[in-house]
């Protein structure tokens, strides 16, 4: 048994943990990151599953990473390079397709082909969504005040939120309020008539969420995914050089340069508590680490129900964390391909292969996929978001061959009867059959595949329930209610113990905001 002493210990080397560590180190603290797996990155990793084929195992695109974090941590200097993902291609059930290309005029002409009305509405819709994303931005970078508290800090915070609301124009405030409470189906029905357009847009509203596009609240999730489109150097969704692992590798490199120590293969068993304060952690191998501050970048359930004995928390808090919704709803199929899928709607190799390919022919299609899942079944005809990383970054696969990432919804964590190898095969088969319907050579082109269910996400990346956001982005799990009422400011009922990951405000995606905001709060408390 060895003993180590630091200023701060970060549990978990995902992007939020690393960002949190980097900011603490930047303020002169002596910081160590303890990662369970042999590699850092958490759910943003790239791994060579078949020789020569590099898979972006879980997270596969970037866009939401806060630009100020990229700037402040000088991530480009540490190897961060975002390659554009220029288009979205949606094959339709009638053999046609709908595409949004990287050229505005081309996209407009394409939309016009389907509906002149939608082509007209599209630009205005994009403007409104960008304006709304801008309007939400100040809330994202704010520590949520507790409206029930009378402390100076919370009252000042409330005042700030009030001032913010008053600064919005009436039109913006109303539009925002509608967006936060609406269903994505209702939102899109107000604007458009083309099924494939509405289906593809509505998909952003369900990602990582166990709700269908007709359920209220999904328009907010859609907006959440829009936030990346306006920020920083890249305006659209992008793909990191070397995959999502490239993002976390650059953050890890920046953190190390700031003096952060990163220890992999160091699973934490328990947080050490002394005199009602978190004072360190014990690893599963018995090693002990002492620190003034312990930060968890794991999900709230692991953070509060596994690392710490419940007796250190009020009963009500424990109940609230137990009730925190973390139902995993998505899975992935990572595929090694001998050739590109050939889509009957637009045959041949083309620009479509360099962008996203979306199986989302209509809102009803996605809603029906949800209907399967809510009763514990994998969607028979799922929503699939595909990208072919090797088309964007040729280093990802051997020459002439390809890797393909298929994000699939809905894949329930609590599948009826539990997950078995048979069910996993069935899930893969649903996905392959669905894609095959649009690209008949697809099945033949498969050389190898990695099937990831929410249970695998939980097992490999250590996220409870396999929920990619560490907890669903439901209205009652946002802002001052995330992860639990009164504890949305990254502090926890255990002094010296903090939460700094997607389960805290403002939520998931490779965004990094929680990691940074938590670091700022920790430094405020530093005495």
């Amino acid at each position: 048994m060895t003993l180590h002493t630091y200023d701060a210990i970060i549990i978990g080397g995902g992007h939020n943990g690393l960002i949190n560590a980097a900011y603490l180190a930047r303020a002169g603290k002596k910081v160590i990151v303890l990662e369970r797996r042999p590699i850092v990155g958490g759910a943003a990793v790239t791994e060579e599953i078949f020789p020569g084929f590099h898979f972006t195992e879980f997270s596969y695109v970037v866009s939401l990473l806060r630009p100020e974090i990229i700037r402040e941590l000088e991530l480009p200097r540490h190897g961060l390079k975002i390659l554009p993902l220029p288009s979205t291609f949606t094959p339709m059930e009638n053999g046609d397709y709908l595409a949004a290309w990287d050229d505005h005029d081309l996209t407009r002409r394409e939309l016009y082909r389907h509906s002149p009305k939608d082509a007209e509405a599209y630009d205005e819709y994009a403007r409104v969504m960008v304006r709304m994303a801008m309007a939400v931005k100040p809330l994202i970078s704010l520590v949520p005040p507790d409206p029930s508290s009378l402390s100076i800090r919370d009252l000042m915070g409330l005042l700030k939120v009030g001032e913010y609301a008053a600064s919005l124009s009436q039109k913006d405030l109303y539009q925002l309020a509608k967006l936060v409470t609406q269903s994505s189906a209702d939102l899109l029905d107000e604007w458009f008539e083309t099924d494939a357009l509405k289906g593809t847009k509505s998909a952003s509203g369900i990602i990582g969420t166990f709700l269908g596009p007709r359920s209220p609240g999904t328009a907010y999730v859609l907006l959440h995914h829009y936030m990346g489109e306006i920020d920083g150097a890249f305006r659209a969704w992008g793909f990191a050089k070397n995959g999502s692992g490239g993002v976390t590798a650059s953050i890890a490199s920046a953190a190390r340069a700031l003096g952060v120590k990163i220890r992999t293969q160091s699973p934490v068993k328990q947080v050490t508590v002394k005199n009602g304060r978190a004072v360190g952690v014990a690893l599963e191998n018995g090693d002990e680490f002492h620190a003034k501050v312990v930060v968890s970048a794991a999900d709230p359930k692991r953070t509060f129900l596994q690392f710490v004995e419940p007796k250190y928390f009020p009963d009500e808090f424990v109940t609230q964390i137990r009730n925190f919704r973390t139902r995993g709803s998505s899975g992935k199929l990572n595929i090694a391909l001998s050739e590109l899928p050939n889509f009957t709607a637009l045959p041949g190799d083309g620009p479509l292969h360099r962008g996203a390919i979306s199986i989302s022919p209509s809102i009803d299609y996605i809603e029906r996929a949800y209907d399967d899942a809510k009763y514990g079944q994998v969607s028979r005809r799922p929503y699939i978001d595909m990208i072919i990383p090797s088309m964007i970054d040729p280093d990802m696969a051997p020459p002439g061959q390809h890797v393909m990432s298929c994000f699939v919804q809905y894949v329930p964590y609590d599948v009826e009867g539990g997950w078995t190898d048979e069910k996993k095969d069935q899930f893969a088969e649903h996905v392959i059959a669905t894609i095959e319907q649009y690209a008949p050579n697809f099945r033949r082109a498969i050389i190898g595949k990695q099937v990831i269910t929410p249970v695998d996400i939980e097992r490999i990346a250590g996220i409870t329930g396999g929920n990619i956001f560490h907890g669903e982005l439901l209205l009652h799990q946002l802002f001052f209610l995330r992860p639990a009422p009164q504890w949305a400011d990254f502090r926890t009922p255990l002094p010296g113990y903090y939460l700094a990951a997607s389960g805290a405000h403002p939520g998931g995606g490779v965004m990094g905001a929680a990691g940074k905001l938590a670091a700022m709060e920790i430094l405020k408390d530093w005495k």
């Binding site: 409206p147 029930s148 508290s149 609301a165 008053a166 919005l168 009436q170 405030l173 109303y174 309020a177 509608k178 409470t181 609406q182 209702d186 107000e190 709700l211 007709r214 359920s215 209220p216 609240g217 009500e316 009730n323 919704r325 009803d364 809603e367 209907d371 809510k374 009763y375 439901l474 209205l475 009652h476 209610l481 009422p485 009164q486």
Partner: protein, 508 residues
Amino acid sequence: MPNYDIIIVGAGHNGLTAAATLAKAGKRVLVLEKRPVVGGACVGDGNAPGFAPFLGGMLRPDIIRTLGLERYGLQPAPAKAAFTSLLPGSDTLTLDPDATQAAESIRRFSEKDAARWPDFVAFMGKAAAFLDASYRTIIPPLPKFDLTEGIPLAQLGLKLRGMGRRDMLNIIRALPMTAQELTEEWFESDVVRAAVASLGIHGVTLGVMSAGTGFNLIHNWLNRGGMAQPNPGHTGEIASALAQAAKALGVEIRTSAEVTRIRVERETVRGVTLASGEEISAPVVLSNADPKRTLLGLVGAPELPPTFVWQSRNIKMRGSVAKLRITLATPAANLIRLSAPQSAPASATFVIAPSLRYLEKAYDTAKYGQVSENPYLEITVPTANTLDVHFQFAPYSLKQSTWDLERETLHQLTLDTLSEYIPTLHASRITIHSLTPLDLEQTYGLTEGDLNHGQIMLDQFFFMRPIPGCADHTTPIDGLYLCGSGVHAGGGVSGASGRNAARKVLKG
């Protein structure tokens, strides 16, 4: 021709409440009603007395007191009745208004749930009290409002804070939740969860897994004063008491007087035109019709700003409720007791809501424009030999059929479902009447058959009901106010919207 200060379009319970309140303040009020009878959706069509779109309801107690409706036979607090969930195999769960007795019935399904029931009732009481306070507040256009408008809003905020930290946060949290999530946090028995969650989808085209049904659950709890329907079969008496009170206060009520146009000149209301061609002028017009009908039908898009027209078109009216009345040869109570011996004799509201999954599945079909094959039903027993049935989901817009063709299917599905729980029903049935969503629209003027003049959902709540900026009953037309259920505080037979609209007019 007499001069009126105020014309009210539509003599529903909200229109009459507004009329009486305004007349009490000395205004000369004329109420114009399209149908030959007053009462709107509280009153039936004569073929089946007492059979109305609203099978039960209760005005807010302050309205009954202020307008002196006790004199006309209304009681502020109707006798509380039990709420019984009929289950397969002649089993039942009875949620008696007395919490201890309810716990007794719950105990058969879960000891834990029985122990939690009194706390749940207390929590719902607080949540409903907060909602009631918000329904008493006229919500000014945000974010810029003057001090006099801001004070009630601040008072509402204080009321919420005054409930204590825990309750305050729990109430805020409950509103956007799904009825499933809310009931799952409280109870472990699916039977108990489903019975309670049925209130969350009552009257809306949403499932128990749709966000915001927590809010609808609290809304219905407030309107009913608990789980059971108050005054089943007697909503007509509410209308007649209001009409009598209004007349006594000097209100003139004209029936069979259909308003076809609200006349507007230079964004100011001038009066109304009737179907007969008669024109009546007044400086103030209140519309008890739903917002869509009022703005797009009676006023007309050309008189309104384009964005506002777009917003009006997007108000979600999605009726998916049908109502049925079944007359029986034997007393209904006997039939139910025969098949469900455990049900309390005082039970007046019964539901077919055996599980959360059952309720969600009923909603699934509505999403795709089909009638539920296994519907969620709420049954009340207005008189000894009749059953009134609230049927969900029967969507207004059918994908592959029309309501003319589907009425028989509706009857059959209702009888089949009921017979599973009350096997002797088939033999005892004499007649069956129904109101489809299309009937609700054609007879009662409810756009798309939406009983609440607009869905009770999160984005049509509070300052967003019916349209952001109009939650204070005003419209872009000077002198034109909305006083029906489609405005904040509305939904159900509460009269709150009519009361608030009158207050707003009197302030202006």
